[in-house]
Symmetry: C2
């Protein structure tokens, strides 16, 4: 019976990992608006098994993204070490938006808050403190407008999530251009040239294709 | 029999209007990622009836938003008449983003292209021509950076749709701030003060509430 219990525990742990891996894949591809059923299907487990391991979608989201939210907080802390405060601040936003670009779910997770007991939320708070210091450093160096606040980082992430979720194949190109405009708006640039814009034909095709994806249902 | 046929036609027309009104409501509240079933339910008709009137969701979206996309094209044309090119350009973006703010579906529709036979697409093309002229006018007046292109308007609409879809109750406050940063980035502002930022506590609550909405499924 002891061996049997150990094997049950091993099964449970294996299912848990399968589910988390499947959830990360599905969230990255499609964002967070997917059903528990879709995730169970990808993991190759029954929906009841999934619901036994994760009581709510919130819990599943928080666990699936815990490492990435931790990495986000690490990035904010590492940016504080940059000798040039403007480069530190810019580099932080460039790296975080690059993470959003390859993971539609993470693009949304960054603009959410979780119940304070969750580890995800503890990472988020750690990132908030580092961001406050990053902003203060850039302002002290005179490279960031004085009325910029930490909440504006959330604004950047929300706006950038809109580009990631809506621009299809042009997300990368629009992302770079959005950052360039915003950096200029924040007072971080000194009239730098913009990254190249997509052509009208590229935009037409990308947004037509997007619409094809959405017309089902 | 003739009276019977007329009454059938009247029924069909009434159903069509019921469906379009319901679709506009549901799209405005929840964006375009809703099912045909949800729309039929709101309209109080069966799903087969809905599918008989509108062959695809694309067709339903295009018809539901035809008037608003027409109004968008009118706004672009009206902005050309503004005596001050900077005010015309800014006013156009302010009015369009205000339309996005109150209608989550429209926020997405503006960043899509439709098959060229649809009237929606014809309005979109009419708006594109006006926007190209609006940009040229602002550049000629020296109030808009030279490397700004018409495709950047799509970028603004995508980024703003991210704020509308993701910021919950703070969408209005974030929207005003995003525009202010972007106007500065486009070279349109001369160091104007920013609209007030939401507090950290407001952001925390708004994004927690948002997450509550998403944890079902």
């Amino acid at each position: 019976m002891v061996a049997g219990a150990a094997s049950l525990r091993a099964d449970a742990a294996r299912n848990r990992e399968l589910i988390l891996a499947a959830a990360r894949e599905v969230f990255a591809e499609s964002g967070l608006d997917v059903s528990m059923r879709q995730i169970a299907l990808r993991a190759g487990v029954g929906e009841p098994t999934l619901r036994r391991r994760f009581g709510s979608k919130e819990e599943l989201v928080a666990e699936a993204f815990e490492d990435k939210v931790g990495a986000y907080a690490d990035l904010a802390n590492a940016a504080l070490e940059a000798p040039d405060p403007a480069a530190g601040f810019r580099g932080f936003l460039e790296k975080v938006t690059a993470m959003q670009l390859v993971d539609r779910g993470f693009a949304d997770v960054l603009t959410m808050t979780f119940p304070p007991t969750m580890r995800c939320e503890q990472h988020r708070r750690r990132s908030y403190e580092a961001i406050e210091r990053l902003i203060a450093k850039a302002k002290d160096a005179g490279v960031l407008r004085r009325d910029f606040v930490a909440e504006d980082i959330v604004l950047v992430l929300l706006a950038h999530a809109g580009v990631v979720g809506g621009a299809g194949k042009l997300a990368g190109s629009f992302s770079a251009r959005l950052l360039a405009f915003l950096f200029e708006g924040f007072g971080l640039n000194a009239g730098d040239a913009l990254p190249p814009a997509p052509s009208a034909a590229q935009v037409y095709r990308a947004l037509l294709r997007l619409h094809d994806d959405k017309k089902q249902g």
